[in-house]
């Protein structure tokens, strides 16, 4: 059951293809991206609507003609959807280099789907003055590339976009704070819909929707039940996955997902000029395993555990996701040392795989209850 408050977001996500078509019909120019390290504020400031590319649930067919079966189901699903015409409204792709598979699929997109804009943005890993200058040159290059496709960039426009996205992220941070205190009357699946709607909605409209959501949240509600857990992973497309977690006895109180907290923290970057703010935020992003080590992620996970009072961690990983799979053994061992129970579930092409997933989750929660 979708809660009333989340219903507008749920409906938008359900009607995503129509929403994109409507935006295109209204003369909006859409630019796709796979990873949240794409500079959405810059894309928006240049007069485009940033759209996070997602796949559809279902089996992969056409994508196998272009991709091997050992990249993550998310990217295969995205290519499948594109080959079925699901992204005909996109004017191109701007992608920050995070993982190899996303970079390769962006290239494949350019070769086979096409568009006016194709840009892969190398991102520095080490934060130092030279890296920030480097990133400034890269972002300027993106603005120039978008300019060739009819984009208009000015510092003032970037400042306005940053202000808007900062407000969106600040609101999301408020929702997260409520969630940590069990004061957010939204299921994890509903909350994922709230996040996902932001991946393709005009930010001006999305901000209004979030403001309305904040007002619509009931002040009194039955306290949620379930064992509090943190979900860590790359991205979750299907809200059903989180519904199964909560139906099996869990209550998601925190996350470390790029369809979640990693997308919003920090809420803003600091700097005198708009570009400085964008650079500062990019360099200080909540750590993604494609860009950092498990050692640097662990303290952040423990902080989340502490502030949310989660009792366990469920790693929900895309199958074949090297950055996450590469970190998992260390994180798992580190949690074990601290007597924090954890479970790992891989998402395969067929999605949630309800039966086996439920069984494992139920056992996990029974163990936590014991």
């Amino acid at each position: 059951m979708v809660s009333d408050a989340a219903l507008p977001f749920y409906e938008m996500v359900q009607n995503r293809d129509h929403e994109l078509a409507a935006l295109a019909s209204a003369g909006k120019k859409l630019i796709g991206y796979f990873c949240t390290y794409a500079p959405v504020e810059l894309i928006h400031a240049s007069g485009f609507v940033p759209v996070r590319i997602m796949g559809d649930a279902g089996t992969i067919d056409k994508a196998y003609a272009l991709t091997p079966d050992f990249i993550c189901p998310y990217l295969r699903g995205a290519v499948e959807k594109a080959l079925n015409g699901g992204y005909k409204h996109l004017r191109g792709v701007v992608q920050g280099y995070t993982c190899d598979a996303a970079c390769g699929v962006a290239n494949i997109w350019n070769e086979n789907i096409g568009g006016d804009v194709f840009h892969i943005l190398p991102l520095p890993y080490v934060d130092q003055p030279a890296s920030r200058s480097f990133l400034r040159a890269e972002l300027t290059g993106v603005a120039e590339k978008l300019g060739l496709a009819g984009g208009v960039y000015t510092h003032e426009r970037l400042a306005a976009s940053l202000d808007l996205y900062d407000k969106i992220r600040a609101l999301m941070a408020e929702f997260y704070a409520l969630r940590y205190e069990r004061k957010l009357p939204l299921s994890a699946a509903d909350f994922l819909c709230v996040v996902q709607a932001g991946f393709f909605t005009l930010p001006e409209r999305y901000y209004t929707m979030l403001t309305d959501l904040k007002k619509a949240l009931p002040q009194t509600f039955n306290a949620p039940k379930g064992i509090p857990v943190l979900i860590s992973g790359s991205l979750i497309e299907d809200p059903r996955v989180l519904r199964i977690v909560e139906e099996s006895g869990g209550m998601v109180v925190a996350d470390d997902l790029c369809t979640g907290l990693r997308n919003f923290i920090p809420t803003r970057g600091r700097g005198a000029e708009p570009m400085d703010r964008l650079i500062d935020r990019t360099m200080n992003r909540f750590p993604c395993p494609s860009r950092t080590s498990a050692e640097e992620r662990l303290p952040r996970l423990l902080e989340l555990m502490e502030c949310s009072k989660a009792r366990g961690v469920i790693f929900i990983l895309q199958k074949f996701c090297t950055p996450h799979l590469g970190d998992h053994p260390f994180l798992n061992a580190a949690l074990q040392e601290r007597r924090i129970p954890s479970l790992m579930i891989e998402i395969e092409e067929s999605g949630a795989q309800d039966g086996p997933m439920r069984t494992r989750l139920e056992s996990f929660f029974e163990m936590l209850e014991a």
Binding site: T67, G104, I108, N110, E111, P122, A137
Partner: protein
Amino acid sequence: MEKSAKSKKRLQTAKELPLIIADYYRECHEAKMENRPVGWMPPMNGGIELFYAMSLQPVFPENWSPVCAAFGLTHKNFAVCENMGYSRDLCGYLRNIIGYVNGMMDGPEIPLGGLPEPDIILTPQGGCSPVMKIFQALERRFPRAKVFRGDSPQVAIENITRHHIDYAVGEMKRLVEFLAEATGHKLDMDRLKEVVRLSDRACELWDEIMSFRRFIPTPISASEIGIMFVMVTRQGTQKAVDYLVRVRDELKERSEQGIGILADEKIRLFWDNIPLWYNMGLFNYFEKMGGVVVAETYSAAWSLRLDADNPMESLAMKTLTSYPLVSCVSIKKRKEMVLKACREYSIDGAILHRNRSCVPITLGQMDIRRELEQEGIPSLIIDADHMDDRNFSTAQFQTRADAFMEMLLSKKKGSL
């Protein structure tokens, strides 16, 4: 057909490889005994020349994996790694080296004495995702090693501009400062220029060696590609140059005498992606039907030139270009390279190794395949893994390879 087999080499210089390899690893151990700092690093970057110029010893964990495959050690290493919780879906290089350093490391059964422990680790911030995760795991395993994390922007070669080069030069300078601080060894610019000159000479010889592949019959095949060991481990040294001169001279002699890998060469093949290190004999498989694997993707990684008068920038460029040359950072560039090789070497058919252990090279192969078809070059997809023989079926390979060769032979005879 065996699941694991060594390649049959025709070049005398290629047959010397076991000695060349042993000599390099002996040097690595000597460095440790002589207290000359040992640094572990990824291959194909400008740090190698810096190390040789500063009298430090570079060691390449990635290169150790093919050695493990050749000696049949991978299953033990995989078992250790997978028991630590690493997924079988991860790259075989990653699983092998993490298994090795957390398992047998320098046990009595290890050939060549294994790898000497690192005093320094150069963790790449760039390159492919598995290599970053490998070095993070190595930092964990060797906590006393001094660590340098250097940025190497993942940018397509055709998009490299001044600011990429300047940034990469800055990172090289930062590395020099780190090495001086960590080891007490100072960099002498004249010495560096000499090392870069030798490195450039090696690249020049490499290109010359590759050019012999134009001859029909070819005097060199992918079975001899082990000669690249000196490009991986000894670039910037006189030893590499001396060896490559001898390889070049042998090829010159053979080509002048018209001696090919096969006396009756019928089909010329191209191999895309990393070889199956545990079964280099696969390259010889096609010979029974007159097929020779004339060229492969990997060799392009050293087809570059360095300017000894501008050593830091040359090394920065080497670092910037090495990963994009053999990955999916630019499929456009990869297509160009494969097509160029196929044209230059008169290739009849291409074998595309869909490599479960290497996503960056595998992605884009279908686009390369389409381009080859437009050029009239048929291709064959082989599903395998460059490190893990559990992901390779000999029977499936044989069936596909035989049918492909028959088709190519018929096509050549004009019956298709």
